[in-house]
């Protein structure tokens, strides 16, 4: 054992403990994930995003809120404004860097809300069946029937503009697919023998759902969330663009595009640069999600 390198231990065909099997499985998945250049690119971009967000005060050359009306709409590379300035003379690069925090904030909040709600609804519906199932799934269908952006618009209208409300509205429109998925998984797991065995041991529904069904639903849920993340970022940016998400002077990327829209013909960079940032991040999520799906589902395919 001691002569083995860590790599050999991880790649061994005959794991000696359950822990080794699990770690080795993860490691092999990781190897496959990173062997694809597209996935790797996505991963690198997202890591960079997190780093930028964490170190924003160190990286940003200027205060993102500091106005300088004498230096409005300066082009790329002007003075020490590497990406130019916006209509109030604020440094675009600094705003971009601070904006990454908002993006991550939105992503984190939606990830905390939507899949959890979906998981809850789906497993409860799938496990209990009968009327509960009927009602919960009908509700899910109703939400699925709405076009998402329009529903989010209506929600924001009801809740009032603002970043938290935008997140809430997006989450409210994002949970139904997770619920469906969790329900489908629950139905297959529920009828399996090992659940019957656990039930015979006297475990109640609560325990079965939380200890045995949830863990099994997680992996497919993660893939789905990663794939949806890009859509969530785009939706948030769209709301910001419409003035319904983050409010000025917040350096949210969608709102920045909206500000730059008026000057698009003469000062193209003001709107172009934040758009590129949104594109890069959502592309990264898509690349990662795509790779994850390949790893978890070797048959390939799946649904967009």
């Amino acid at each position: 054992m001691s002569e083995q390198t860590l790599k050999q231990w991880l790649l061994s065909d005959a794991p000696t403990s359950r822990m080794q099997a699990r770690v080795a499985g993860l490691y092999q998945g990781w190897l496959r994930l990173t062997s694809n250049w597209m996935t790797l690119t996505g991963l690198i971009i997202l890591t960079a995003l997190v780093l930028v967000a964490v170190c924003a005060p160190l990286l940003a050359p200027h205060d993102p809120f500091e106005q300088d009306l004498l230096n409005r709409l300066k082009p790329i590379g002007y003075d020490d404004h590497y990406l130019g300035t916006d209509s109030l003379g604020r440094d675009i690069l600094s705003r971009l860097i601070y904006g990454s925090r908002i993006t991550l904030y939105i992503v984190a909040l939606v990830t905390l809300i939507a899949p959890v709600v979906g998981l809850l609804v789906g497993t409860v519906a799938g496990y209990l069946g009968g009327w509960t199932d009927q009602i919960l799934m009908r509700t899910t269908d109703v939400f699925l029937a709405f076009p998402r952006l329009v529903l989010a618009l209506a929600f924001v209208a009801a809740l009032g503009p603002g970043i938290e409300n935008a997140v809430l509205a997006i989450s409210l429109t994002a949970w139904p697919p997770y619920a469906r998925m969790a329900r489908a998984e629950t139905l297959t797991i529920r009828s399996s023998d090992f659940i019957a065995a656990i039930r015979l041991q006297g475990a109640g529904p609560l325990r079965i759902i939380t200890r045995h069904i949830w863990p099994l639903c997680i992996s497919s849920l993660i893939v789905r969330v990663t794939l949806d993340m890009a859509g969530i970022i785009l939706a948030a940016a769209g709301l910001g663009f419409l003035g319904l998400g983050a409010q000025p002077p917040s350096p949210e990327w969608g709102a920045m595009i909206s500000e730059g829209r008026r000057f698009i013909l003469d000062h193209w960079w003001v709107a172009t640069i934040p758009g590129l940032a949104i594109f890069t991040v959502s592309l990264a999520f898509n690349l990662l999600g795509d790779g994850l799906r390949d790893v978890l589902d070797p048959k390939d395919g799946g649904h967009g």
């Binding site: 109703v142 709405f146 076009p147 529903l151 009801a158 769209g238 663009f241 969608g254 172009t272 959502s282």
Partner: protein, 353 residues
Amino acid sequence: MVSVTSQPEEGRKSAPFPAWLRKFLTTCGSIAATMLGLLLVTFVIGRVMPIDPVLAIVGERASQESYDAVYHQLGLDKPLMVQFFYYLWDVLHGDFGNSLLTARPVSQDIARVFPATMELATLGVVIGMFLGIPMGVLSAVHRGTWIDQTIRVLTLVGYSMPIFWLGMMGLLLFYGILGWVGGPGRLDIFFEGLVPSVTGMVLVDALLAGDMDVFWNGFSHLILPASLLGYYSLAYISRMTRSFMLEQLSAEYITTARVKGLSERQVIWGHAFKNIRVQLVTVVALSYANLLEGSVLTEIIFSWPGIGSYITTALLSADMNAVLGGTVVVGLIFICLNILSDLLYKIFDPRAK
């Protein structure tokens, strides 16, 4: 001899109606339930809105009496259940109330703006379909090669673009710099009102009136936003096509077809593609529905007077009736397209009968 016939008979024994009727009724029931739910959601949204509908009508400085009168007239003093039934009743009669902005019935407004959206989304989905399906087939057939990779990247890029930003970039490049296409709006100003509005779709109206100048001008305005939407749906359609196709190409009957000595083209289009046609109908219908929604932001960028701009403008000016009316209509269309695609599936797949 054939074992298939035995199953419906079993179903028949246990039920008073024939199986198809029962199925039909369940489908209708679930559609009705979904629509009811949709209205319930919009109703609730309408109630929790921080806008006082009475004030919106009578204005800030109205007397208490006139306020109360309108309050009563709107039925706001009734229990919520009753209000919901009023709401249902009105919607079923196509009455969404009056818009504050235009001071006209919302239903009329929607009827006016909807053709613009339809024109845009239809051309978009046509573009997406005619490019996306061949691209999906191509990348499935050449799986893992550079063709597949290129198409994959192209579709991922499509998925990742903020569509409003892409629209702005498109305008900047093709209108602002190159001048190849018409700018925002449906027509240049001096072409407006030249042809009578029959269908509300500029291109169709121009053709009906036989005015080719208007047609080409309308086309030059339509082509950019429609291409953007087309790119968006192309991404979806081609990915779905690819995964359906891969599934079929690994099926055993494909080997059978090759054993017969068929050419690759016959195998792909004559055999594999035939098997995904039905699924593709569903995908196209779905992406059409998605375009109706995706057009919200596009319409704003291109000042396109469709339902997307209508809802957003209404939203920004707190015109509640218009927002809810628009949401309900888009939701209903969404549901209808879903049902339609299901139906088509059942009609065209020999196995579903």
